[in-house]
């Protein structure tokens, strides 16, 4: 379960303060599929980084499964990220000059899985997002933008996380490939995972059960989606 209590995030550079999140509160239960919408620069990615235990709020409290993340040590946070969370970055953040397969298998290295199992699970995750096997041994900088996006999604899926956070996961994909990704998310959702995705597109948001809209660092609406668009794959 995710609980955000009056979360504020202010960036300080020199004597200029930029308030980005201005007191955001909400709760997301286990197994929910939530879309976060909002205009560019409204603070969506900033919020997502906090939810993913990658960044800390300036004030307010973020509780993951009842535990306040601010109380956890650096190594405990690493364990949370390794065991519970799958994160798809808006800018992918792949390891450069490293093969697609190795990129996807990387989280499993830290989870101490044996090498053949790592490769098998990485290959399965890549296939789930529609990556062709012929690209598995290409270097991460020798594939298209859409392929990079799918590698980033596969890497988030590979450790079978209970919480999947995806920042604009379909931004670079055509409708058909986008649907494969959304279908995969829905399947994970059906098997009980919690999924939070950020998107600009109403079409993508319609696949979620709940839609939160933020603007200028504040929640402007938080509604249930009456007509969930379902994709079967």
């Amino acid at each position: 379960m995710i609980e955000c209590i009056a979360i504020k995030k202010t960036y300080v550079s020199g004597d200029m303060e930029t308030p980005v999140l201005k007191g955001v509160s909400f709760t997301i239960n286990d197994g929910e599929f939530v879309a976060i919408m909002g205009p560019s620069g409204s603070g969506k990615s900033t919020l997502m980084h906090i939810l993913g235990a990658l960044d800390t709020p300036t004030s307010g409290d973020y509780k993951l499964d009842g535990k306040s993340v601010a109380q956890l040590s650096d190594d405990e946070l690493a364990d949370v990220r390794k065991n519970k969370i799958g994160f798809v970055f808006q800018s992918f953040n792949l390891l450069s000059r490293t093969s697609v397969l190795r990129n996807v298998a990387l989280p499993l290295v830290y989870a101490e899985l044996p090498e053949d199992e790592r490769d098998a699970r990485a290959a399965a995750a890549l296939k789930a997002v529609g990556m062709d096997e012929s690209r598995f041994h290409h270097l991460s900088n020798q594939i298209s933008g859409g392929q990079m996006q799918r590698v980033a999604i596969a890497r988030a899926l590979v450790n079978d996380p209970s919480l999947l956070l995806a920042d604009e996961p379909t931004g670079n994909l055509d409708t058909r490939t986008g649907d494969i990704v959304l279908g995969t998310f829905q399947k994970l959702h059906e098997s009980g995972r919690t999924i939070i995705l950020i998107t600009h597109e109403p079409y993508v948001a319609e696949h979620a059960d709940r839609i939160i809209t933020i603007k200028d660092g504040e929640i402007v609406s938080d509604t249930k989606n009456p007509h969930v668009r379902s994709i079967k794959i």
Binding site: A78, R81, F89, S96, L106, Y110, E112, N159
Partner: protein, 407 residues
């Protein structure tokens, strides 16, 4: 994280950027290689000069004509300087010194030696039988000049191995053959054992003839270029040196010791003078080596630091997917260690190779010392590890988003 995976991650991180890895290693290789080469050549030069000095004999007091100071007696045996030492001086010293001693007298010049159409220009030393004792000269085949041969001014010659090789061919049997020296025919009666040295210090390129023969046929007059007195005990050296001075001053009718027309040096003085020179030489080489090490070190540091931005993002990503601080620190430490050790090993090979080449072509027995290897290795490895590890350690303390945004 498993050790095997840790090593594999470090290894692949190094192979992923071959240019970066290569350039960093180059800095280490050059830094270590040059230090090892410089120090070994310096040491080799120092050793060979000291060995040359030791090989002229032990407990020696050398008297040469004129008031030349410094290394004159070592290098040229006072050749060409004033004619103030005579055979009579030599005999007088031998008689009057009251401590146990052996005296050797010589007059040396350069001569043209011809045998069977081959010829060589070499140092010809006219001397007496005691030369072998005083100068620790050993005979390989045949015999050295005897007192009888000196008394009768016999035309006999003892050759150094290099001179023998030049005249009769390498390793050939030359005893009984004849050699013409400045127009006179001499019979070869012995070959000396090699004493080593090279270039201007080659002590094997020499020919010995009886002192009286040299004075009759080659130089004229009864002048000497060197008198060498060997003390039976090193404790007597200062006393003998005082006696030599007073005997010669008296014989030459000189009252003021500062006006002496001869120079008395003992071996310790010569060793001290030579040590000063080789010491300066070694210091110079060490200074050059330190500069190479410094430049190499700065190169390593630069490579490590310029990649910090890129590596910081990588660290952010690794942390974001579950790496602990210790995983990151260990990986970067292992990378730095692999890099410096691979570079270090190549550097040692390079330094050793350079010393081997110098030994072969410059005739200096350059020897690679463990201490220079350890010093060079230690400094480069230290720099590599500190600048490879420290920024990584600092980056691992950032939260993943800060690290991913690092500029």
């Amino acid at each position: 994280m498993k050790t095997k995976d840790l090593i594999s991650e470090s290894y692949s991180a190094l192979t992923v950027n071959k240019v970066r890895t290569g350039l960093t290693m180059l800095g280490i290789v050059i830094g270590i290689g040059s230090v090892i080469a410089m120090v070994s050549v310096g040491q080799g030069a120092k050793n060979s000069i000291e060995a040359s000095i030791q090989s002229i004999g032990s407990n020696l007091i050398l008297i040469s004509p004129g008031s030349t100071r410094g290394l004159g007696a070592l290098v040229s045996s006072g050749r060409g300087s004033s004619q103030t030492l005579t055979l009579e001086d030599g005999h007088a010293l031998d008689k009057q010194i009251s401590f146990g001693h052996t005296t050797e007298m010589e007059t040396s010049t350069r001569g043209q030696l011809i045998a069977k159409g081959k010829n060589t220009n070499t140092r010809v030393i006219g001397t007496i039988a005691s030369y072998t004792t005083v100068r620790s000269l050993e005979i390989d085949t045949g015999a050295f000049i005897s007192d009888e041969q000196d008394r009768t001014s016999a035309k006999v010659v003892v050759l150094g191995p290099t001179t023998r090789d030049d005249l009769f061919g390498v390793g050939s049997e030359a005893i009984g053959q004849t050699v013409r020296i400045n127009g006179n025919t001499f019979r070869v009666i012995g070959i000396t054992k090699s004493k080593g040295g090279s270039g201007f210090l080659n002590q094997d390129d020499v020919a010995f003839i009886p002192l009286t023969t040299a004075q009759h046929y080659l130089v004229g007059g009864s002048y000497l270029t060197t008198i060498a007195v060997q003390a039976a005990s090193s404790d007597d050296m200062p006393s003998i040196q005082d006696e030599v001075n007073s005997i010669l001053l008296q014989r030459h009718h000189i009252n003021d010791a500062l006006q002496a027309d001869f120079t008395v040096q003992n071996q310790a003085d010569i060793v001290a003078t030579a040590s000063t020179i080789t010491g300066t030489f070694t210091t110079l080489l060490a200074a050059i080596a330190s500069i190479s090490l410094l430049v190499g070190g700065i190169g390593i540091m630069n490579m490590m630091l310029t990649t910090v931005t890129e590596r910081t993002r990588e660290i952010g990503l690794r942390k974001a997917i579950g790496a602990k601080r210790a995983d990151i620190s260990s990986q970067f430490l292992i990378e730095a260690v692999m890099l410096t050790f691979a570079g270090g090993a190549l550097g040692v090979v390079l330094g050793w190779g350079i010393s081997a080449v110098v030994s072969k072509f410059a005739g200096i027995a350059a020897n690679v010392t463990i201490s220079s290897v350890l010093l060079a290795f230690g400094v480069s490895a230290g720099i590599g590890i500190v600048f490879g590890y420290y920024p990584a350690r600092r980056a691992s303390l950032l939260n993943p988003i800060e690290a991913l945004r690092f500029e």
